[in-house]
Symmetry: C2
Subunit: 140 residues, 2 copies
DNA sequence: TAATAACCTACCAAATTAGTCAACTATCTA
DNA sequence: TAGATAGTTGACTAATTTGGTAGGTTATTA
């Protein structure tokens, strides 16, 4: 039960952007330095965030990325979805037509895993980017 | 955010055992067939479950594995812990002395990830093996 | 027009996962 | 007591995922 670095970086970078790029564009090289994340890797991640319309980009000098919505309108779950960080605990991938573990029916634990996904998804829907920007002052 | 097959199999196999092996030993070859899990892989998993004293083993004909506790005393979290299926969302591994992402302090999102771990761990503590054994009659 | 910064594509190495295979040991039963 | 059953252990491996790197192209603006 773990999250990928990609997911962790995406959330971290978005919090950074909410702090430093809510008014004017903020370059990824700055995010890269502040948060210690590889620039090329950030570029890949922001490609996806842009497709999901969570951020806008501006090329050229003085350009960079800027939030496309209010930070209290962006859920952490939105970020997960944007970069395809799946909440996936079932074996069948939640496809209603698929069956678990190669058998001809849902496995004994299917409902349990779906419930767990619900618990996680629900939490990620309640937390917004703005919550993390404010909270970080509490972090040592 | 996903779980490994190992974790999924462990829970599934324990539910199977709770159904078929709460009175007398149940061989892994039977679990293997019923749940469509590789026997050798199950053996590795049950090795860990045994070390954690969630199951007992009995060699020889008529032997197999049997639950070592009441099924309503075994939390899903216990199974996760037994097979070392970690709930790990932070980058620093929750080591209080470690820092996130190579920096000299906790990252902006550290508290958020710890809270998420709490939400998941809490849910896994509330569900017991007995809940899944009963629930499966509802599964199509 | 030079510098900046996003954009795009290909490639790669390490780690993890999900097993397989083979040999061995203990125990029960016929 | 022989043989079948069933757990135990360790080595190995193929496939996938992860976490990048490298290099170039395009757009913008000072």
């Amino acid at each position: 039960m773990r999250i990928t670095s990609r997911g962790r970086y995406a959330v971290l970078a978005m919090v950074d952007l909410a702090k430093f790029g809510s008014q004017k564009p903020c370059s990824l090289s700055h995010v890269s330095i502040r948060q210690n994340i590889s620039l090329s890797y950030l570029e890949q991640i922001f490609n996806d965030l842009k497709k999901a319309e969570l951020v806008k980009s501006q090329k050229g000098p003085g350009g960079g990325y800027i939030l496309n919505k209010d930070k209290d309108k962006i859920k952490i779950l939105d970020i997960f979805n944007a970069i395809d960080e799946k909440i996936k605990t079932t074996g069948c991938g939640n496809n209603p037509n698929a069956f678990c573990s190669g058998t001809n029916k849902k496995c004994l634990t299917h409902n349990f895993w779906e419930n767990l996904e619900g618990v996680i998804g629900n939490y990620l829907s309640t937390v917004h980017l703005s919550d993390l920007v404010e909270e970080q002052t509490l972090v040592k």
